[in-house]
């Protein structure tokens, strides 16, 4: 239908130029918003860049599950410390007591499901009361205080980490 031989080539070059210009714009915008120094980064993820050498070194601690009021759902809390020079992210969680685990952040008394939670380089990801948390759904049974729940945390770079989380009282909040 359209005149291919010349037209298509011209279109491609035009499109490529436009795309190139837009890419520069995009990079400029992203780097200013995230103040990321990594040029090869895709939206501040800092992957595969030479200057961000090292790798994430993760340690999970303080995991617990408050005993839920019913067998409908439960929450889960833990802390991930990253002593490495590279960021990682928690991409999914599985457990022995629930069919599904969602990751949530809490914004203005509303919880929102997120695709992943970041673990910054030399930083901490905290899942704590009133903030980020795991939501355990499709419970196989109601976790009761004294029992232990096993979580398998899946990270983008560090692979899987298994943690045991004691079931605590419904209003348990660890001392800080």
């Amino acid at each position: 239908m359209t005149p291919r031989p010349l037209g298509a080539a011209a279109r491609r070059s035009l499109a490529a130029t436009a795309l190139g210009a837009a890419c520069v714009l995009a990079l400029g915008a992203c780097s200013s918003s995230s103040s990321s120094s990594s040029s090869s980064s895709s939206s501040g993820e800092k992957k595969g860049s030479a200057e961000t050498s090292g790798r994430p070194e993760l340690k999970v601690s303080g995991a617990y599950v408050p005993q839920p009021p019913t067998d409908k759902m439960a929450g889960g809390f833990l802390t991930v410390r990253n002593s490495g020079g590279k960021a990682d992210k928690l991409t999914s969680v599985s457990t022995d007591v629930a069919g599904e685990v969602e990751m949530h952040e809490t914004v203005e008394q509303q919880m929102r499901q997120v695709e992943s939670l970041p673990v910054p380089a030399h930083g901490t990801l905290k899942l704590a009361r009133g903030g980020n948390h795991l939501m355990l759904m499709e419970l196989k049974h109601k976790p009761v205080k004294g029992q232990t729940v096993t979580f398998v945390l899946h990270f983008a770079k560090s692979g899987s980490v298994t943690v045991k989380a004691p079931v605590e009282a419904t209003n348990y909040t660890p001392e800080k």
Partner: protein, 219 residues
Amino acid sequence: MRTTRTVPAAAALVAAAALALTGCGTDAGGKAADKPATVEKQEKGGTVLDQPFDKPDLTLTDTRGDKYDFIEETKGHPTLLYFGYTNCPDVCPLTMSNIAVAKSKLSKEEQKKLRVVFVTTDPERDTPEELGKWLRGQDPSFIGLTGDFDTIQAGARSLGVSVEPSYKKKNGDIVSTHGAQVLAFSPKDDKAHVLYTEGNTDPKILDGELPQIIKGENP
């Protein structure tokens, strides 16, 4: 010909710009979640209100399916009121459980006087049965109310509690809001003189202050 040629170029630009936006959008989202949201430790306890709140006109349905008039039923009783929902893994059960634990430490006499009322912000999912099941898991004496959302929201608003209707996201998730504070009404004048913000209902605070609330005194 020239005009048709510029079309794909413009389309590419738009597409690239959209990509750029998406890239930055996820970046910003990631940054937002980056900040660990932790509950600040506060030792200040309940906040005494300069302008006490009247009891809201909440005529709703209780967990037995009966009509419940909040003003009438709690008249002359020290009353704690909280707005939340049962599909809530963190703050709602924490708040109600903190109250349950503090209540269990009161004398029998004090326990008998106290009314604890949980009003759902998610009436569609929180039927009387669901509410009843959830509250019995905390304390069987707790009163659970459900009903018309507009009534609930108006009642909450009159107490400075902001709640939004539940909505369904494209992925099927239902997003609900819980209130950020527990209101404590005095048995003397049936007004709320004290409120407890999130993170201020832990046993160290409530255990000490609840006996005063029951007497109608400010902590």
